[in-house]
């Protein structure tokens, strides 16, 4: 029994290594994606947001305001225009993301201490740019508002200290925990790389059954007196070893080379990932048990694995989805994994919290493998 297990365990490695396509998918794709995502998010935070200013007043006050905007941390003033129309055209062409229009008589209104309106237009077509631009603009607005208020109070005869205290009476301090600089790389790189990894691994797991039954050599296994269960178990374990070896390399590069935060024990993260790998493998195996061809199995698992990541709550919270959809995707292993892996790596979540995901993986794997066994027994595999 052990000899049979070892023979097929070893043969699975040989098979994968000699299949250039599979080798590339399993070994090169996740590493390549890590390289690409690591490079893409190297800047970590979005700075130098292209900004244009149209100063229609050209007063000392408006120039001071333009200067404040220019000094804003994440805004990069790349153009000055003379009209609202020019700003509009620049945003439409994508030359700038933020446009500031300082109206005529801005300085005069300031002198008269009348409210005045400065338009800050943000290109919302790119969500990431838009959110960052909004935050950057908000910071500038807060600074300008405080400066303006202080000026008014000073003009009313208040002392500088009192004026500052009056305006900053309620000081709201935001403290982003776990990712203080709101670093995009911390959140996105790990998730995106693991997404590529899980897709590549799901592709291999989709070969578990059909990879044998769909080949001509299947007739020899079927006509032998040996246990098919042992043969498939050997294949499954070989796959899991490959999945875990690949992800160990990816984690190593993420945490040691890219210095992504890892607040939990590495073993804990690997154990959690293995739980997911088993559940994910069971899904691929289930698909491979009813697919007519290997190509069909690949198509079906991709049709599950790709949207499963999008719907996992990683890029859009489950709470914001229609409840029925959220309830359905909650049972997909990808949902538990992408939520759990962030909780573990960034917060070192406790066993009490993580146990729900382990339970979900275990239950999913048991159901999927059991269904596979039933389908395998019920659906005849033709050999002629």
């Amino acid at each position: 029994m052990l000899r049979l297990f070892y023979a097929f365990f070893r043969r699975e490695f040989t098979y994968i290594w000699r299949d250039r396509g599979l080798r590339v998918v399993l070994l090169v794709m996740p590493l390549l994606s890590l390289l690409l995502f690591g490079l893409a998010y190297r800047a970590q935070v979005l700075t130098d947001i292209p900004t244009a200013i149209a100063d229609l007043d050209r007063s000392a006050q408006s120039r001071a305001l333009a200067s404040d905007i220019k000094q804003a941390e994440n805004l990069d003033v790349v153009a000055y225009y003379n009209s609202y129309e020019e700003i509009k055209r620049a945003i439409e062409k994508g030359e700038v993301v933020v446009g500031v229009v300082i109206p005529e008589k801005f300085g005069q209104q300031q002198e008269l201490r009348r409210p005045t309106r400065v338009a800050m237009i943000i290109d919302g077509s790119n969500m990431v740019y838009a959110i960052n631009a909004s935050v950057a603009v908000l910071q500038v607005v807060r600074t300008i508002e405080v400066k303006s208020g202080v000026k008014v109070l000073l003009a009313q005869g208040e002392h500088m200290k009192d004026a500052m205290n009056a305006l900053m009476a309620v000081n709201i301090v935001d403290e982003p925990w776990f990712n203080p600089t709101i670093n995009y790389a911390f959140f996105l790189v790990l998730g995106l790389v693991l997404n590529i990894w899980q897709q590549c691994c799901t592709l291999l797991s989709a070969m578990t059954i059909i990879g044998e039954t769909g080949t001509r050599s299947w007739v020899h296994l079927k006509s032998s007196s040996r246990s098919l269960f042992i043969i498939f178990l050997a294949k499954i374990l070989a796959h899991l070893v490959i999945f875990m070896a690949t992800v160990a390399v990816l984690y190593g590069l993420c945490f040691e080379v890219l210095h992504l935060p890892l607040r939990c024990d590495f073993g804990k993260l690997m154990l959690f990932t293995m739980g997911f790998a088993v559940a994910m493998h069971s899904l691929g195996t289930l698909v491979s048990s009813f697919s007519r061809t290997a190509a069909d199995a690949s198509r079906i698992v991709m049709a599950i694995a790709v949207p499963a990541f999008v719907l996992s709550g990683f890029s859009w919270p489950l709470e914001a989805m229609p409840q029925i959809l959220a309830q359905v995707v909650k049972w997909l292993p990808q949902t538990g994994f992408f939520q759990g892996v962030i909780f573990l790596s960034m917060k070192d979540a406790s066993w009490a919290y993580m146990s729900q995901y382990y339970f979900q993986f275990l239950l999913f794997a048991l159901v999927a493998y059991a269904l596979t066994a039933v389908i395998f027994r019920l659906v005849p595999q033709k050999t002629s």
Binding site: L4, R11, T14, D19, T215, R216, S217, V219, H220, S225
Partner: protein, 241 residues
């Protein structure tokens, strides 16, 4: 185990009906394979030779009928599998493994001792091909490897499908010698073939046509084949005239 006179039946097929897709390929086949004989299953392409051989091997579920191998109903008992060997018409060895790796994997599957490997390698003259990949092999050498894998467990019954069709003379000679020795040891062989040139290597012929089987001696089968072939030119001649 059944005996017909002094002949021991090793495979007994009764009323075998088998479908491929929606087509009924076998329509109630009765067939006996005796110990020590080589029974050829003759049929043209698409007549169901492979379907019959695979059914006889017990790898495909059959629509109806009973198959007994070495006295055991194969629907109820799988023990017979240890005593079977198979060589398929299409290449069916493990394509990702080389010759030596295939032989070794089959040795494990068939629980054969390591010494048996050397024996089959020597008998089928495969020493020079052990490191070769399967796609690089000539058809004849491939069939020698396939036969070597099939013989690893010393099977009592060998099921072979078109093993010597379109292969080189050297490989044909090696395979026929090995099969002769195999049969002399009291083993049996069920052999699919579609080229009447090979009929005299067989003891009897099961002629498969329209889903049914008729049994002939090799001479009878050859004569029927000649008559059938003679009709075709005659009909053409009549049309030309």
């Amino acid at each position: 185990m059944k005996n017909t006179g002094d002949k021991e039946v090793v495979i007994s097929i009764r009323g075998l009906v088998q479908k491929v897709g929606k087509r009924t390929v076998l329509k109630g086949v009765d067939l006996d394979l005796y110990r020590g004989e080589c029974l050829g299953v003759f049929g043209l392409r698409g007549t169901g030779k492979t379907t019959l051989l695979h059914a006889a091997l017990g790898v495909d579920r059959i629509k109806s009928g009973t198959i007994e191998i070495l006295g055991q109903n194969i629907a109820k008992n799988q023990a017979y599998k240890k005593k079977m060997g198979l060589v398929t018409q299409q290449p069916s060895l493990f394509a990702d493994l080389n010759v030596a790796e295939n032989l070794d994997l089959f040795r494990v599957i068939k629980k054969a001792p390591f010494e048996r490997l050397e024996d089959v390698i020597q008998r089928l003259q495969l020493e020079d091909y052990l490191r070769e990949t399967l796609p690089s092999l000539q058809v004849g050498v491939y069939q020698r490897v396939a036969l070597a894998c099939a013989l690893l467990n010393r099977p009592e019954i060998l099921i072979i499908d078109e093993i010597i069709r379109d292969i080189d003379l050297e490989s044909r000679s090696v395979i026929l010698q090995v099969l002769e020795a195999y049969l002399e040891e009291g083993n049996s062989c069920l052999c699919g073939f579609s080229n009447m040139e090979h009929v005299h290597y067989l003891d009897r012929v099961a002629w498969l046509d329209d889903g049914m089987v008729k049994i002939y001696s090799p001479d009878e089968a050859e004569n029927i084949w000649k008559e059938l072939n003679a009709v075709i030119p005659k009909k053409r001649g009549e049309q030309d005239a």
